[in-house]
């Protein structure tokens, strides 16, 4: 056999091997995804059911509603001249009948425990009903529309800040790891305690500093009023409005992320395979990317997952501080107005968003780490 045909043979073997490995990993991967989805679905079901229970105070809200219905019926009767003069027995019987009709209409005649499952399935299918007090900007009282109107703003804020957080913490983390012990390293370390305070805390100071004192950048909101017609001007206005909230988030989470990443990079840089890569004459940049960053990615992504989940819940106050028309600000208004459907609705949406976040992160996790891709049981 000539050398050339040997190489061709080898290439064939390699290709077959790669195909086999791909087939194997695709089935394994689908199994992994299906398993993850199932677990996450149960997590969401439990979270939503707990929300249903809590928002209804374990059924006590029924009592309040019954009281309200009875009170309204009594007032209705007392205000009606034809009913007002009826004998007491008849009047009470009439009120009872009215109350019964109303309770049946609202389903209060069935026990709360049974109805709670109805609420659960409504919530899970995003059949969120109507708000009690709040309306959407377009005038709808449908909870789903109210929330969907708010969701993009929150996603924008969190998306942009997480993007900067991810890129910034890796970039600066690598830089610091390269020159650990240097003055930039010490400077960043000195800034790490800033992450003890949440983003909205810095938001207050940023507002005091920039719009109030320096008279630059807007106080809050997502776009200037009236909103610019031109889409480019509109985007620029949104960008200008998001500078301060994004900065506030970064101030509260960037330094600690940089520091954590730098430490991970340093730990991974002392692995034997990094030294061997140096011995192999692999250029420094490539060592950083292939031998330090790639094996560290699962750890970094786990870290990022915690940060994102924290931001989902932490954005509530931040949005209030910056009057950012997102879901967080909506929740705080709903809390003030005792608007239970909105509270349940946003919580359901949050549960779904968290589920999606976790799922996506698991997905990435599986992509970057072959040890996970193969899944359990094979080793």
């Amino acid at each position: 056999m000539t050398d050339k045909s040997t190489i061709l043979d080898y290439e064939k073997t390699i290709r077959e091997e790669q195909r086999r490995a791909q087939r194997q990993s695709i089935t394994k991967f689908l199994q992994y995804v299906a398993g993850k989805l199932l677990v996450l679905f149960f997590t969401i079901v439990i979270a939503v059911y707990l929300t249903v229970l809590i928002a209804n105070m374990g059924g006590y809200v029924d009592e309040i509603k019954r009281g309200v219905i009875r009170e309204q019926a009594s007032i209705g009767v007392s205000l009606d001249p034809t009913l007002r003069d009826l004998p007491t027995d008849e009047r009470l019987a009439y009120i009872d009948a009215q109350v019964k009709i109303q309770e049946e209409r609202l389903g209060l005649d069935r026990p709360f425990f049974i109805r709670s499952f109805g609420y659960l399935s409504d919530a899970l299918t995003l059949d969120l009903g109507f708000a009690e007090n709040l309306t959407s900007d377009s005038g709808s009282k449908q909870v789903r529309l109210i929330i969907l109107e708010r969701l993009p703003s929150t996603l924008l804020l969190l998306g942009v800040s997480n993007f900067f957080l991810f890129i910034g913490s890796i970039f600066f983390g690598l830089r610091l790891a390269r020159r650990h012990g240097g003055w930039t390293d010490k400077l960043i370390q000195a800034f790490v305690p800033t992450s003890a305070a949440p983003g909205w805390f810095y938001g207050i100071f940023l507002i005091l500093l920039f719009p109030v004192l320096l008279k630059v950048l807007p106080f809050g909101g997502i776009v200037s009023a009236p909103p610019p017609e031109d889409p480019i001007a509109y985007a620029l206005s949104v960008a200008r409005h998001s500078i301060l909230p994004v900065t506030a988030i970064l101030l509260s989470s960037l330094f600690i992320s940089i520091y954590t990443n730098r430490t991970f990079f340093m730990i991974f840089a002392s692995e034997n395979y990094v030294e061997l890569a140096k011995a192999k004459g692999v250029p420094d940049r490539m060592i950083e990317q292939k031998y330090i960053l790639r094996p560290t990615l699962p750890t970094i992504i786990t870290n990022l997952a915690f940060t994102i989940i924290g931001l989902w819940t932490g954005s509530l106050f931040l949005e209030v501080v910056f009057s950012w028309p997102g879901t967080g600000e909506l929740i705080s208004r709903a809390l003030g107005a005792f608007d239970t459907p909105i509270i349940i609705g946003t919580t359901v949406i949050y549960a779904y968003m968290l589920g999606i976040t976790v799922f996506l992160l698991d997905f990435f996790y599986a992509l970057v780490d072959p040890r996970i891709r193969v899944g359990e049981g094979s080793k």
């Binding site: 061997l276 890569a277 011995a279 004459g281 692999v282 072959p370």
Partner: protein, 339 residues
């Protein structure tokens, strides 16, 4: 015959030398002072030969390997001496030149067998082929083709090319590491305790593989180990390291028969031997701290043959053409040490 010079001088035909280390020093800076891990080391390696560097833990033998490949940590106090590879003093090269020309082109390395000597998230085939892509600008496919041939050479099944390190057994990983070390046909392969993390059977297999490769490919090995028994199978010559210095160099046959230096002698006596009823004799005491090594002979506190002259640092005595020893007992006119 007292000869004040390195182990390498003029004794051998220079054409045959592939590696010649001359007064190599590597001192680490620590909070408590300089650790003299490698302190004035001289030795040579002939083409297609295997020199074994024997020494106990902490004697500086791994630092020696690192110094030759210039894999230095950041806390370097002193790094000096001369390292000739095929006649070229590589200590004069810049870091970038060293990376391009020496690392894996001339000198490659088999690390201690351990799970983390391979990148856990890169397929082993790619890792083995990587030096070809970097140093010889080979395409990825032809590099993988060569990696596959190398896998065949070292006894790794071809379908392992697309596997990840965690899917391989310890012995297979070490075979992969050997394939990786040989892929660029380097002149010298540094073997840093290549079998110490493996079980005895796998050790024997790996040593046999290394012998075969040496015979067929004609590589030169610098084997760094504390395992005298395993190394005796492959050694052509032996260098004994103690407290950062090389105290004896000898051809392997005569060394394993009867070493010259008291330390080497005691080291041999401390190894259990199959089929003999001798009880292994431990070397009492501990090697000196490399922070402030004692003046004079560094072994004298543990040496049973110690005498007045040992307070002075012994020079290197050329006993015969192939044997040198750093011990006063071998100065002419001194009665030979008898164990």
């Amino acid at each position: 015959m007292k000869v004040e010079m390195g182990f390498d001088d003029a004794q051998y035909d220079m054409q045959e030398m592939i590696l010649d280390v001359d007064d190599l020093k590597l001192h680490y800076r620590t909070r408590n002072g300089a650790v003299q891990a490698v302190d004035g080391v001289n030795f040579t390696l002939r083409k297609n030969h295997a020199t074994v560097v024997i020494g106990e833990s902490g004697c500086g033998k791994s630092s020696l390997a690192k110094a030759i490949l210039r894999l230095l940590p950041r806390n370097i106090e002193t790094f000096s001496g001369k390292v000739y590879i095929d006649g070229e003093d590589v200590m004069l090269l810049s870091d970038e030149q060293f990376r391009r020309n020496i690392r894996w082109n001339r000198v490659s390395m088999v690390p201690q067998a351990a799970l983390n000597s391979l990148n856990p998230v890169v397929r082993v085939g790619e890792q083995v082929a990587e030096p070809l892509v970097i140093h010889q600008k080979m395409g990825k496919r032809s590099a993988l083709g060569k990696a596959l041939r190398m896998f065949e050479r070292v006894g790794v099944p071809s379908d392992f090319l697309t596997r990840y390190p965690f899917e391989l057994s310890g012995g297979m990983r070490q075979r992969v590491a050997i394939a990786m070390a040989l892929i660029t046909d380097p002149d010298i392969v540094l073997l840093d305790e290549p079998t110490s993390a493996l079980d005895v059977l796998t050790q024997a297999n790996i040593m046999n593989l290394l012998k075969e490769v040496k015979r067929d490919v004609g590589t030169s090995y610098l084997l760094i180990t504390h395992d005298i028994a395993t190394s005796s199978e492959i050694a052509d010559s032996v260098a004994v390291m103690y407290a950062g210095q090389i105290v004896e160099v000898s051809d392997a046959r005569r060394f394993f028969e009867k070493p010259l230096h008291p330390y080497a002698d005691m080291l041999m006596a401390s190894v259990p031997k199959l089929g003999r009823h001798e009880v292994p004799i431990p070397i009492l005491g501990q090697p000196p701290s490399l922070l402030n090594p004692p003046t004079g002979c560094r072994f004298r506190d543990r040496c049973p043959a110690r005498f007045s002259k040992c307070d002075e640092e012994p020079p290197i005595f050329q006993v015969d053409e192939e044997r040198q020893v750093k011990c006063w007992l071998h100065e002419e006119g001194v009665a030979h040490y008898v164990s």
